[in-house]
Symmetry: C2
Subunit: 312 residues, 2 copies
């Protein structure tokens, strides 16, 4: 079948095949992405992040179902931290698919975090574009953890939501500070637990100190996602943020910056691959490494020499 | 003062200044790194990682003190997830310094994770080299969280230890699988908690399934780091792993691979900076982005054109 043609006709199997092509860097991946590009830009992208155990997957699924109830189609890109050994990406995918597959307005896809980070970030962006071209109204990118990688991936999103839960330790405190800047929305999940009010106050205090949020005050919602409690309000907040960005011309701004950083990443990736094949994977380079190992030469001038040789 | 000369004479202020120069990319940073390179390669580097709340900082401090007791000098590079807004890196540094500063064989330094990931990984490597050239016998790199960034940073280490605690949720389960491959040693901290035996069995089972560890069976130690319980055994295990790597010629192998990946990263970084200045930060590129935004052109062929222009 013609994957692009079928994908544009809302064929889910074609969408699935296209994402697989991108994920595994099949020969046809660039061709697919090139052809679908002009059909993108319509979907609204929501990023969900937060520490392990915060209930992000459950939250994502409930939000997707709420959107579906409101008549929207929803794509989910779930970033899975599974190692190549456990095969969990596939398993987790299947379990969630069973639950969500009944709803034909929803499509879930996991991306494993194995391989290079930059690669993952680009592949996530490509998966989002494929779902966008397919015709999804809303796309949720759900990340695991709160490292730099997750921050990078959340940059794929128009609205970013940070999910936290009460009663976490001091490290979480530090992490909260780290992701404050990316949160357009905060959701305290498992909000029937002790410490919910305290956490709410802490987030509010941190928002006070944060100069980033001018014009938009990130709302702090409370949910018990496993029971579906509070999900409607979260979806309302996402839509309010969308409206805010659109009315202020900020959505166009964000998306321009994102296009720029995506193209930059593609460019860097391409150049680095060239250097890999022309420099890194050569006997000459290996010999130089050996000499560095023996402290006969130092790497800084070697790098300068190579740069002079490679660039115009 | 001549920073390099003083650093090589074991002047801690010079070490501190040199790390600051590297962290902030001062003009003299490359010069310092070039000059100290031939003095590196003596220190043994230990990476400590694990999920938030596992007690990595406490563990790191106790291990440092144990090494000091055994007559070794110890440098600590603590990767701090603090955002530029909270100033926590400095605060956290000071609190720990107060505790450890009494011991003049120990030197602690935090590195903030703001800025680019690749950059942090390189800066961590540079800080390790500076401590190495200074004359530290053991250097501990302590990371926060367990994302790809941490895995990259742990690659700076000769021996990597993963710290876990009993009673964490399902996400942790997935994360454990993700970091299994990088653990030469496992430590169950807070081992007086319920679930310690269960966690021990889970780790053992995962190790069974892991084909990476041929010749070295990662030991699983138990500690209550806050009370100093079990720390001696952990340090013994680290030294056993060191001995194992040395006797099998594997240490030289690991370090060669590390040098190669470090030099590759330096090279990529330098080339990417060149592209930033010659391509990304130009009006022409900005115009192209605008056209992509309007779906008049697609990025894939633009990238190809630029690559052809930039590379020899």
């Amino acid at each position: 079948m013609d994957i692009v043609e079928e994908l544009l006709k809302h064929n889910k199997l074609a969408l699935s095949k296209a994402i697989t092509a991108v994920e595994n860097e099949y020969d046809n991946a660039v061709d697919i992405m090139t052809k679908i590009y002009s059909h993108t830009g319509h979907a609204y992208v929501i990023g969900i992040t937060g520490p392990p155990g915060a209930g992000k997957s459950t939250m994502t699924d409930k939000i997707a179902k709420e959107y579906s109830k409101r008549g929207f189609t929803v794509g989910i890109v779930a970033i899975d931290p599974t190692s190549p050994y456990s095969g969990g990406a596939i398993l987790g995918d299947r379990i969630r698919m069973m639950d969500l597959t009944a709803d034909e307005k929803i499509f879930v896809r996991s991306m494993a975090t194995r391989g290079s980070l930059g690669g993952l970030s680009q592949k996530t962006g490509d998966a989002v574009k494929l779902m966008d071209a397919y015709g999804m109204d809303r796309i949720i990118v759900e990340t695991v953890g709160v490292g730099q990688s997750e921050v990078d991936i959340v940059k794929t999103a128009d609205t970013s939501m940070v999910v936290v839960i009460p009663g976490m330790g001091d490290d979480i405190q530090a992490i909260k500070a780290g992701i404050l800047e990316i949160g357009d929305l905060f959701t305290i999940n498992k909000a029937d637990r002790d410490g919910t009010d305290k956490l709410n106050i802490e987030i509010e205090m941190m928002l006070e100190l944060n100069p980033e949020h001018v014009g938009w005050r990130p709302p702090i919602n409370r949910t018990i996602a496993s029971k579906g409690i509070g999900i409607e309000a979260v979806v309302d907040s996402i839509e309010e943020h969308k409206k805010y960005l659109e009315e202020n011309g900020k959505l166009a701004e964000i998306r321009k910056a994102r296009t720029k950083s995506e193209v930059t990443a593609m460019l860097n990736d391409k150049v680095n691959r060239y250097i890999d094949s022309k420099v890194i994977n050569t006997q000459e380079f290996d010999d130089q490494i050996m000499k560095m190992q023996n402290r006969e030469i130092e790497p800084y001038s070697v790098v300068d020499d190579i740069v002079a040789k490679v660039l115009k």
